[in-house]
Subunit: 148 residues, 2 copies
């Protein structure tokens, strides 16, 4: 299948991870993906798992590649679930405007922000932790994912 | 891992597919999943892929099971993409209130409904096709998935 139907280079290929690092911090790198912790912590522990190579849709991945990528998504999700102590995770691939395959992994709490609704993708204001708290979250996720 | 951390039976296990058929129509059944076409066609071609057995989170699935389930999700997505003629798909696992693993597969069009935003999960009014048009969509999806 075509890797990129557009004739223009994908800015998420040419500028990764610079684009992501404007709104996220790098957690770790796995075989098929890079993991980021989103700076806005409206949903504490919210991460993104970005496929390293360019693809727009899940079905563009070969079966083995899809299985390996989703295993990485699940591995990250399990750590986010444990570290955040959330009640449920939301997972989403949107990418209308940034069509380089990436999965949002978003902790939700019963009675908390957007419970029972889609997670808040782009909050008007955002919630930002103190640097020490953010760095601790980053470290906990990194340790959990790398030893998982 | 625990199949269901709740002590109550999951209503999506005990009443499937009755619950889904109140808002969707059955398209087909695959090895690990059931596929439904959502009756609200705010996003024409929108489907749900429901895991047959009970699980809440992706990481509760064994590696082979996750790979096989996601292969079915990708297979359905490819057909939804082709049949709908959309520009991009959105994929989401939410389930805060219905925590039995299911994936929303939602066609989006450049400049169309909710382009650049999360798809409309529960529209206030909804868009409902004439029965013939809905049945034709259902048939096109069914044929595409079953021969894929």
């Amino acid at each position: 299948m075509a890797a990129n139907p557009s004739t223009e280079p994908c800015r998420y290929c040419t500028a990764t991870p610079a684009i992501w690092l404007s709104s996220s911090a790098g957690v770790t790198e796995l075989a098929h993906s890079r993991v980021f912790l989103v700076r806005d912590q409206t949903h504490p522990g919210r991460c993104v798992v970005l496929l390293k190579r360019h693809a727009r849709e899940l079905f563009e991945l070969a079966p083995d590649e899809l299985a390996a990528f989703m295993a990485e998504v699940a591995r990250v999700a399990q750590v986010v679930h444990r570290v955040s102590g959330c009640d449920k995770l939301n997972y989403a691939v949107y990418g209308d405007l940034s069509p380089h395959l990436h999965v949002h992994i978003v902790p939700k709490w019963l009675g908390g922000v957007a419970w029972g609704e889609p997670f808040v993708l782009k909050p008007a204001e955002g919630v930002f932790l103190a640097p020490e708290a953010f760095d601790q979250m980053l470290l906990n996720l990194k340790r959990g994912i790398e030893v998982n």
